[in-house]
């Protein structure tokens, strides 16, 4: 038999024994008297953090809603003023003005024919 493999086999068994000894050296510990109170403290502390975050999120949402309502009001108010402004485009306004200006010269120009002087 190969002495190397024999050694490995023996080491395998020794390692198994060491693991078993380790199990015995680490028995199930008795929980301390304040295990449950500490656990509930931890649970409540985490709940408080989540409550703070949810309040913060709620406040942010309310602020965003108020801001959007305000912006909506501003837009609708400025929209009503927009109605008072001319609806035509700048070019159309110019064209209209140009038309009214040309009206001044709308009458046909009558050029009396020159009288021939004989």
């Amino acid at each position: 038999m190969d002495p190397q493999s024999h050694n490995t086999g023996s080491d395998e068994a020794r390692l198994d024994a060491l693991f078993q000894a380790y199990r015995a050296a680490c028995p199930d510990p008795e929980p301390s008297a304040n295990f449950m109170p500490l656990l509930w403290q931890g649970i409540e502390a985490r709940q408080n953090v989540s409550i703070v975050f949810s309040r913060l999120a709620r406040n942010l949402m309310t602020a965003a809603l108020a801001l959007s309502i305000l912006l909506g009001l501003v837009v609708s108010f400025s929209g009503s003023r927009v109605g008072q402004l001319p609806s035509e485009s700048y070019v159309e306004v110019l064209a209209d003005e140009h038309y009214s200006q040309t009206l001044d010269y709308d009458d046909p120009v009558h050029i009396s024919p020159a009288v021939e002087q004989r």
Binding site: A17, L18, A21, L39, I43
Partner: protein, 196 residues
């Protein structure tokens, strides 16, 4: 199962006394598993608190009461893994601490059938802790659950949601690495003692 399904269902619905009962039923077993997974008795209770805190906040995600135990073991393995990773970041690898003498003493103590005193237990804990530091935190947790806790491949498969064959390969590699370190430590110690 240490408790009935009805208790788990009540705890899942937010019943505080039912949750207390659930923790009381499992805490000793879970603290024991943590003690062997992390190898530091002084930190066991802190990790245990973390496990049950995670349990409280994730109970509503539990699919059914039947899978409660593997699921609790999964939370335990994850919390131990997180602790070991943080510890490795804090400390340098304990490889240098693994004196050959320590392993030989632990090996000798492991072979004795008599009741071990606290000193021997401490030596065994330190030697196994140092040996397990040779593998990654994930493999350490897996190997401890298999070799020390005695969980079967089927149980490990339920905890990790991994196929048994994949677990077998991983466990074999991790064990080989630990065995190699163990053999090397014993050989060196034998060499040192024969040269004296």
């Amino acid at each position: 199962m240490l408790v009935d399904y009805e208790l788990i269902r009540r705890a899942r619905e937010g019943d505080g006394p039912a949750f207390n009962e659930l923790v009381a039923a499992y805490r000793k077993r879970i603290l024991g598993t943590i003690a062997r997974l992390i190898g530091r008795p002084e930190d066991v209770e802190d990790v245990g608190q973390e496990v049950f805190l995670r349990l409280y906040y994730s109970l509503d995600q539990l699919r059914s009461a039947e899978v409660f135990e593997p699921w609790l073991y999964r939370l335990t393995a994850n919390a131990a893994y997180d602790y070991l990773r943080k510890r490795r970041r804090r400390l340098e690898s304990r490889m240098a601490d693994l004196s050959e003498q320590q392993v030989v003493l632990a090996d000798a103590a492991a072979g004795e059938k008599v009741d071990r005193d606290e000193g021997q237990k401490k030596r065994i804990r330190e030697a196994v802790d140092a040996l397990l530091d040779r593998v990654s935190e994930e493999d350490r947790v897996l190997l401890t659950l298999k070799e020390v806790e005695g969980l079967s491949l089927k149980e490990l498969g339920e905890i990790y949601h991994v196929k048994e064959n994949a677990l077998k390969v991983r466990l074999f590699r991790a064990r080989q690495r630990v065995l190699k370190a163990f053999t090397a430590a014993r050989k060196t110690a034998a060499g040192v003692s024969s040269s004296r």
